[in-house]
Symmetry: C2
Subunit: 92 residues, 2 copies
C-alpha cells in the first residue's frame, strides 16, 4: 500500500523496516508507481490516469507499505518523481 | 500563450474574444496542452514532463491567449483534463 494510504494499524505500524519501493510501471517497466494512478520515471515524466499507470492501483491491495523513490519535496509528503516534478499519491 | 502565463498587457487584454484552445499534443495528437509540459486527453490521461508533452512549451511563444478545454475545477484556475484529473498550467 502507498504509505500515505495504508490502513492505520496495519503494516504501517512497522516503521523501522526500510520501506519497499512501490511497484514498477510504464513503458518497459522503467517507471515507479507514485500513487494509484500515477507512474513516473526518468525519460518518461509522469503519466497520470493513463493506461500505463492503471496497474498502479494494485499497490493499494498489498499489505506492506511502500514509498516511491526520490527526495522529499512539496508540502504533503511529495517525492521527486521526474525532471522538475514533485508528486504525492494523488497529484504532481 | 497559456492564459495564466500570458505577458500582462499583451494579447491577454483582449478578453472578449472566445479563447483559442491550446495546441494539440500526445499520441495521435488526441490530447491538448494544459501547460508548458502537460498534455492531457481522454484515453491518454495526463502526461507531465514526458516526451509527448515536450512540444507544449511552444504555446508559450504564441501571442494570443489560449485556454485548455473542460470545466473549471480546483482552486487556481484549473480545468478538467481527463477522468478525475484537474490541471492548471503547472500541476494536476
Amino acid at each position: 500500500c502507498y504509505i500515505s494510504n495504508c490502513p492505520i494499524g496495519g503494516k504501517r505500524s512497522i516503521m523501522d523496516a526500510p520501506l519497499r519501493k512501490c511497484m514498477s510501471c510504464g513503458p518497459g517497466d522503467r517507471g515507479r508507481c507514485y500513487g494509484p494512478s500515477i507512474c513516473c520515471g526518468e525519460g518518461i515524466g509522469c503519466l497520470m490516469g493513463s493506461p500505463e499507470s492503471a496497474h498502479c492501483v494494485e499497490e493499494n491491495y498489498l499489505l506492506t507499505p511502500c514509498q516511491a523513490g526520490g527526495r522529499a519535496c512539496g508540502s504533503e509528503g511529495g517525492r521527486c518523481a521526474a525532471a522538475g516534478l514533485c508528486c504525492d499519491a494523488g497529484s504532481c
